[in-house]
């Protein structure tokens, strides 16, 4: 029976090295500025969490096998080797203390995209058998049950019934030819059922045709978080198959950061072909509806609101202005954090850290950076658009006894929809 070995790990590291990786490692001057962008270092003060240090195994393989000098050093017996013990030591650095937020990639003076290389390093770690237990479990559940939390359609079916009862609207399921296929995340289904109700209302209000798929409802991708292409590709294939079955032209990624990265940016490359449909984050879709006048809102929230940009959505996907357009529609007193958008700070839970139980302490330490940011602008409530971020914010704020509720942006929009202009809106749209 096959097993994960160091050799397979080294081969996977090797296979990941490309021109950008080589350019990045060639350029690092050990200035340490990346540490100043990493919440895990800043909030623990432990220099081993310096981002570039986390990449040492990948760098060693690059140096030994991809450079002239490394080859010469190898012949002289001077080249350091990557060992199983080293990878075991680095497991904490590559998983527990990195949310792949990509902030270091934005500040590195020589332009190294460190998050890109963390993602690559995890490929090697999985093949070498050095992934954290929490992420292994999530991956196994995702592949075997379709959801990293083991959630099944029947649970969702119950939710759908509730939504239909409370709104009096139909939640379309398996509707071939709808414009949008709506994907969900298990966390939303369990923790934030308001989301499904909100989009049901908004799409009804805007006259959008959409559907859920019983074949696949889960957009999150444990394979991306653990860092394995095989699992990630399997999970993406399920989404693609569902979309192709229902012949939709657009797929909507839910309020979840890494799910968007998985199906929007990595998906086509994992399956090795372009999609026959386009992928949008729900925030992008809502902003598009707003821009074309298909969302009519009334009333505004009058308390002081601030917003947390999910890393995967803002810095790593360029969705930054859209959520601000939407919040301006429904909030009177919105204040941005000092560093937001592409320079926002991670909540600390991304990149699989939240699925990695043993990283709990580090995760809460990293949150202190976000907490400080929140304290700076002192909002009464926080708005965000990622279920993982939202959970982390809620847990973190509670941990520090800060009475600041966190709400999803989509729900907030749904709460302000104009009640009866539906016929008119449809009329406008048709006109």
């Amino acid at each position: 029976m096959s097993e994960l070995t160091l050799e397979r790990g080294l081969a996977a590291f090797r296979a990941e090295i490309d021109a950008p990786t080589a350019a990045f490692f060639s350029s690092c001057v050990h200035c340490g500025v990346c540490a100043q962008s990493c919440p895990f270092y800043l909030e623990t003060g432990d220099p081993k969490y310096t981002p570039i240090l986390k990449l040492e195994p990948l760098r060693l393989i690059w140096e030994a096998e991809f450079t002239l000098w490394g080859r010469i050093k190898g012949l002289l017996g001077l080249q350091e080797k990557v060992t199983d013990a080293m990878l075991a030591e680095w497991e904490e650095l590559l998983y527990d203390s990195c949310s792949m937020c990509g902030r270091c990639s934005m500040v590195c003076p020589v332009g190294n995209d460190l998050a890109y290389m963390i993602r690559k390093s995890r490929e090697g770690m999985v093949q070498a058998g050095h992934a954290p237990e929490g992420l292994i479990n999530a991956s196994i559940r995702a592949v075997t049950t379709g959801s990293p939390m083991g959630l099944q359609w029947k649970t969702l079916a119950v939710q759908i019934k509730h939504v239909e009862a409370s709104t009096g609207l139909e939640v379309p399921v398996d509707k071939t030819g709808a414009e949008y296929l709506v994907m969900l995340s298990s966390m939303e289904v369990i923790n934030f059922p308001e989301y499904l109700e909100a989009i049901t209302k908004i799409f009804d209000h805007a006259g959008v045709t959409w559907t859920l798929s019983t074949q696949c409802f889960e957009a999150t991708n444990a394979g991306i978080q653990i860092g394995n292409k095989d699992i990630a590709a399997q999970l993406v294939e399920r989404v693609v198959a569902a979309a192709e079955t229902l012949k939709v032209s657009k797929v909507i990624s839910p309020e979840c950061g890494h799910a968007f990265t998985a199906i929007r940016w990595e998906g086509p490359n994992l399956i090795g072909r372009p999609y026959p449909f386009r992928v949008f984050h729900i925030v992008e879709v809502l902003d598009e509806l707003r821009a074309t006048g298909r969302i009519q809102t009334e009333g505004k929230e009058d308390d002081r609101l601030s917003m947390h940009d999910p890393c995967n959505l803002a810095r790593k996907s360029g969705v930054i202005q859209q959520q601000r357009n939407l919040i301006d529609l429904v909030a009177e007193d919105f204040v941005d954090m000092n560093e937001h958008g592409r320079f926002q700070w991670c909540c600390g839970a991304g990149g699989g850290v939240s699925s990695n139980e043993r990283a709990e302490e580090l995760k809460m330490a990293a949150f202190k950076r976000k907490k400080a940011q929140i304290e700076e602008v002192a909002p009464e409530r926080m708005v965000t658009m990622c279920a993982t971020c939202r959970t982390q914010l809620e847990e973190g704020l509670e941990e520090y006894n800060m009475d600041i509720p966190v709400i999803g942006l989509t729900e907030m929009i749904a709460d302000h929809l104009v009640e009866k202009p539906r016929a008119a809106a449809e009329h406008d749209a048709e006109a």
Binding site: P20, S27, Q36, V107, E339
Partner: protein, 220 residues
């Protein structure tokens, strides 16, 4: 022939050729190593092109974002000062321009010697500051390798010997000049095989970074 003049003629002649050849071999090898690796095709629908954002990042990374400046002002300011000082001394000192003219055939106007002299003194001080920072700052101390100290030493030696030679503080002068040229040659030899490569590859790295983010609609 031996002695200081013999040493100077050796570093100006055979040694310079050796250093230049190793530099050219190493640098081109490194660049070929990088570019021949290529990138996997990207099937994800792009939000924007790669070239524009890539080129912009090549320049924009020179200036730190305000947050980083606030958190690492020493890195940013001292890094800037010594890099600019080094470049001014390297590119705008008239004897150096004559060297470029002699080897490459390219030349440009220079700065008056006292200006370069002042800049060199500032560069030396800031270089010392970077060493102190490297030894003192926990992150820098943790990630520093022998190579970092070796590279620091050679860069410092290049500037220091240049300063000593200009002020003729070492006698005889051919020895002072020879030591300066030799230091520069050692730096040239080390360049393609150490982090000094960033002089060239940082711009490639920045392009890839800018292109990757730019493709996703973010100016990095």
């Amino acid at each position: 022939m031996s002695g200081a003049m013999g040493f100077l003629l050796w570093v100006k002649g055979p040694m310079f050729n050796i250093a230049l050849a190793i530099f050219a071999i190493g640098l081109i090898a490194r660049l070929v190593e990088i570019f021949l690796l290529g990138r996997a095709p990207n099937y994800a629908e792009p939000r924007a092109g790669e070239w524009g954002p890539g080129l912009r990042t090549m320049l924009s990374r020179t200036i730190a974002d305000p947050g980083t400046f606030k958190r690492a002002p020493f890195n940013v300011v001292v890094g800037w000062v010594w890099h600019i000082g080094f470049l001014i001394a390297l590119l705008l000192f008239i004897p150096h321009i004559e060297l470029f003219k002699g080897v490459l055939g390219l030349y440009w106007p220079g700065l008056p010697n006292p200006v370069v002299d002042l800049v060199t003194a500032v560069t030396l001080i800031t270089l010392l500051a970077t060493l102190v920072h490297r030894l003192w700052h926990p992150v820098k101390r943790r990630i520093s390798t022998t190579e970092d100290y070796l590279v620091w030493t050679i860069v410092f030696m290049v500037v220091l010997t240049g300063y000593l030679a200009y002020h003729r503080l070492v006698e005889p002068y051919p020895l002072a000049l020879g030591m300066h040229i030799l230091s520069a040659e050692l730096m040239l030899i080390m360049l393609p095989f150490t982090k000094l490569t960033h002089i060239f590859t940082a711009f490639i790295a920045r392009w890839y970074n800018g292109a990757a983010f730019g493709r996703k609609g973010v100016q990095s």
